[in-house]
Symmetry: C2
Subunit: 103 residues, 2 copies
């Protein structure tokens, strides 16, 4: 298994807003995929926009979304997905908005 | 009154998401201020982040927030505010998230 220094840095999660309506996070990835195993399966809806970099989100039905700077996606609650690729050469910056009732 | 070509272009508003929980807009300004007169006085809360450029938001209590790329602000419903300045030399790109019950 080959490591570059960037691989060794964890993803950076920063909460920008957290109240009864919304949670907004800024996430900085560089070559990371997540979660480490399995799928995200979230109780809330998530709207996500890629502010910098390049990334791929894969869904458990096999569909893939390739995102570039400015691309965005709405992921309804309990739609299983993962970040299957982020560009290893540049920082990818996400803004993720979690919303809707906890189910 | 001096006009540059950029002054003559309107602000660009693009709705990225609109559902029962949230409305998300991307707004591109270049030297614009808004609204043209008076204040924004909104029924919903607004969380806004400046993705590119530089801008100033002024509140009716006299306070000002100077925003640079990556800076963000939460504006509760009915807090009167306006965009009093945006950099005339570059595009300022906003992402605005409107949320909460209509009051």
């Amino acid at each position: 298994m080959k490591h570059t220094p960037a691989d060794l840095l964890p993803e950076v999660f920063e909460t920008l807003l957290d109240n009864e309506h919304l949670k907004i996070e800024r996430i900085i990835s560089k070559g990371h995929t997540s979660p480490e195993s399995g799928w995200y399966d979230q109780a809330q809806h998530e709207w996500v926009i890629l502010l910098e970099g390049a990334a791929t989100i894969t869904f458990d039905n096999g569909k893939e979304s390739n995102l570039r700077k400015g691309d965005y996606l709405n992921i309804p609650a309990h739609v299983k997905h993962k970040v299957s690729w982020t560009d290893p050469d540049v920082e990818s910056i996400w803004l993720a908005v979690f919303y809707g009732d906890i189910q």
